[in-house]
Symmetry: D2
């Protein structure tokens, strides 16, 4: 079928490839003219046959909200917009309501798979009306991995459910990554274990902890056995924060996901104000040795 | 090759099957005569041709230490004992030293795969001397999954390294399980997501969080969509505790693995003394409503 | 000086007492006519001499926003409203802007001290313009504890700073309470320690952990040595959640405060969906014993 | 009464002062001859009148065990040794049994108060036999703060209970410090709060979070408002680790105390292997920007 695709960054570009390989007619728009198939959003809208389906794959937040608002002006009654980015689910009802004023349908679709999705397919979680989901199913079927539809695609619920599910997916991802990371660090700290990468590789088949993330960690260690080319500074991209916030909203205990998030925050601090405060307290009550800033180092004693 | 196998519980029984299917000559001993191939450990030792290899697959702790000690008396110079149970790695040098007095070799082997290992193969992590590892390799090759040896088997280091690696494996497992569990609970708490099992199933292909544990959670939800046949009381079996203790020993931060462990502890408390203390404090300073034990319920106000 | 005081619940009632004892002319309004000095908010406004100062002490959220909006209509240019409740700091600029339209000033004041504040005085953290703070200083001086002003009162910053500081105060409070609670539980679990209340009482002088919260815990244990009259079900009243959310907003690691919050969430769950999921996973991969819901109990084995 | 005091470091030195000020006859021994009253342990034993009481105040672990062993040779039936250091409680029964062979009694005494104890008195938690406790009571009374005995002294239980209680005391201390520290960091991160030290000072009277640790933090901020003379590198001295280990032994959830401990571990890592692993994973699946070690910085995009 025909699809307009807005945003041809790493994800959108690959998706265009995968969709075309599956025989779909994809017209892409990107601000970068070198990769764009059209000159403008308006041009994209003009090139599509009504009723149109437009997939938005731009950064979450203002860029997505802005693109949806523009599409609300350019599209018409009976058209359909799908937000496939990592938008916060709270944006979805706003977007859907805005588009509904002009009779335009809306689906939110969480997309997982990263740069590997082009070949492996993408896991998809969709929120919105059943009829809209059915209408876009050929696209979903082309994007999702081979195999039974339900193992790579879910209609999670009403508008917002797709991004909510993707948010939780990413929150879980934080926890999984941190669990492997803590185990990895403990293995490297143990005297007895002399070949840490071999141990992780031995976990990739048969064990309880086997997973795609483990495969990737093994691959990373194959390429750089001591991870010496990286620092431990780790960004976070929003969904982990939102997951913890939603856990709080719903009074759901989330000790693991929050611990994983906070570990990232801490990894980015050259010097922690909190730990300075702890150091100051130790110094105050016990005369404990503290690390002084600057050239000289403090001396101290046990309390 | 010929192997003596001590302990034919759920794990050992399956391993005997898998080894025999691979053409090995396994003589099993279990206290339960209905499944045992021999009458006693002494009988087992007598039936094996020297130099003998005996795999111990009994519960960790006293049962394993006891079995190894008995084998130290029954076996002879040049024989080899492999502890495949979930022993704490600190037991391994004790066992190895004990056996070495009689010239008997020792390997520790962490085995992962649960009840699925019989068909899928087991992930194996081994500690000990290279020559001993080579000698037992036909056994390891039969137990590990199909595929490249290094994806299901590692010689992790000296004696103790196998069990250390398995301990960390299980610690990671705690973190992974808790991450999925927190995400699952949050999905069930969200109004927007109307089909939680479908969402989890949609993650099984293509997504970043796909894993064998996720497959199992999907399977559990297929069998019991609301998990209504279970309670939230969760045991722990030692390795999670040891992982956190070793993290402490090595000053490795383990916030995720420890949070997963503590969630299990809390799950087993009908009423938490700590939370009673928090409740008492809230009552003291603010006249906050507290839940009184017994038939009457307390009234309270905001502080 | 003269003060209108809206809300005569546990906190407001006590504050009226303390202010009157200090010689101030307090006219209180409450929906409960038995304790109210006036018939209505309008009546309160009419009884006060211009320029008026009105302290709002009603539940945070809608009640406070509603009261402030009504005061915006009833008061006049040059008057001053102080929100002393536990409002989220994000409400403060909204309230201040609303009142500013009619020339009415606004201060937000975090108030700590609970039911003890009437006699001990209340710790106060204020946000707003310096001139407004100065104007209300006689009230602040009467409410705060004896001693140097700066040890019970701070002008924390612009509008919102008072409630932000109070929010953090309460977040810290969650962490402190949980720390004592964990220690208390561990003492009760130790065989060696035969007199737990005596140990806590011995900490009240001289030790590093002495505090007012500890004094209260000792008092609670004096009254009920085993805390047997309470359950471990613990509510939370908002500020702890907001603290973690703000920590996330500012990328500040808050592992302790969030752990304290999640412990409260967990304390209120009769059965945790997350832990059911963990139990289901253990059952799936290892055939581990699980606690089945209902009359029959499952049997199982170690994996 | 007469007391032998072994170890005149920061704690022991101050205690000698306080005891002498209370009229006790203290003979101190330290390896440093400039502050020692005697030449050797043997000399100390010779100078004391039987039945002797000797207080050991040397670093925990080997130094204390060694000192106790030597005293076991030098002292006689009817004498009494008190270990006032921060020994792990598991050392106490070993020490007690060793001394009992020669008829020497043993008490373990947790001592809290840091460098302030000389003037304020020390909080004391004692384990051992009632008769031994009674015998040493004049010493305890001199060391503890003014006020009712039970507010600065507890006979916590049998041998080991004093150090167990002190261990828990210190574990709680970790949690308290981290709670204040997280709140402090959040205050410094908020735009609205312009005077963070003033806010903390305003908490010292009347509020729920007032405590001696808060007073010390206020003092530290008075001396160095931005804590700019310190780094965030924080040591730990054993009791926090033991507390978490004992929590694990007793299946007591300790999320706050463990989080405080792990924050210290993380504060000491120039670069975290775990976070490198997380970074490697993000890079693998999403082509996320990662911080490369060395001169060049990686570019990346959102997944």
């Amino acid at each position: 079928m025909q699809l307009g695709l807005v945003g041809l960054g790493k994800m959108g570009f690959n998706m265009r490839e995968r969709l075309r390989a599956a025989g779909h007619d994809v017209i892409g728009y990107d601000r970068n003219p070198e990769i764009s198939d059209t000159e403008s959003l308006a041009d994209l809208a003009a090139k599509l046959d009504a009723p149109r389906v437009v997939w938005v794959m731009v950064p979450a937040g203002e860029p997505t909200r802005q693109t949806v608002a523009e599409l609300g002006e350019l599209l018409s009654d009976g058209d359909l917009v799908i937000d496939g980015g990592n938008s916060r689910f709270t944006d979805d009802t706003v977007n859907a309501d805005l588009l509904a004023k002009n009779g335009i349908g809306y689906l939110d679709c969480g997309v997982s798979g990263g740069v590997w999705g082009k070949d492996n397919g993408y896991g998809l979680m969709v929120g919105g009306a059943e009829a809209d989901v059915e209408r876009a199913m050929p696209i979903f079927d082309a994007l999702r991995p081979e195999g039974p539809r339900e193992e790579g695609f879910a209609h999670a619920g009403a508008v917002g459910a797709g991004h909510f599910a993707k948010m939780v997916h990413n929150g879980i991802e934080y926890g999984l990554m941190q669990a492997y990371a803590e185990g990895y660090e403990l293995l490297t700290a143990a005297e007895a274990v002399t070949d840490v990468p071999a141990v992780l590789k031995a976990w990739t088949r048969g064990t309880v902890v086997r997973s795609w993330l483990l495969d990737l960690l093994v691959k990373a260690l194959d390429e750089d056995p001591g991870l010496s080319e990286l620092t431990g500074y780790v960004e976070d991209s929003g969904e982990g924060r939102w997951t913890v916030e939603e856990a709080i909203n719903h009074a759901v205990p989330a000790p693991v996901i929050s611990a994983a998030l906070f570990a990232r925050f801490a990894s980015r601090q050259a010097d922690s104000p909190a730990m300075k405060a702890v150091s100051a307290l130790r110094n105050q009550f016990g005369g404990h040795a503290v690390h002084k800033a600057g050239p000289t180092s403090g001396a101290g004693e046990v309390k």
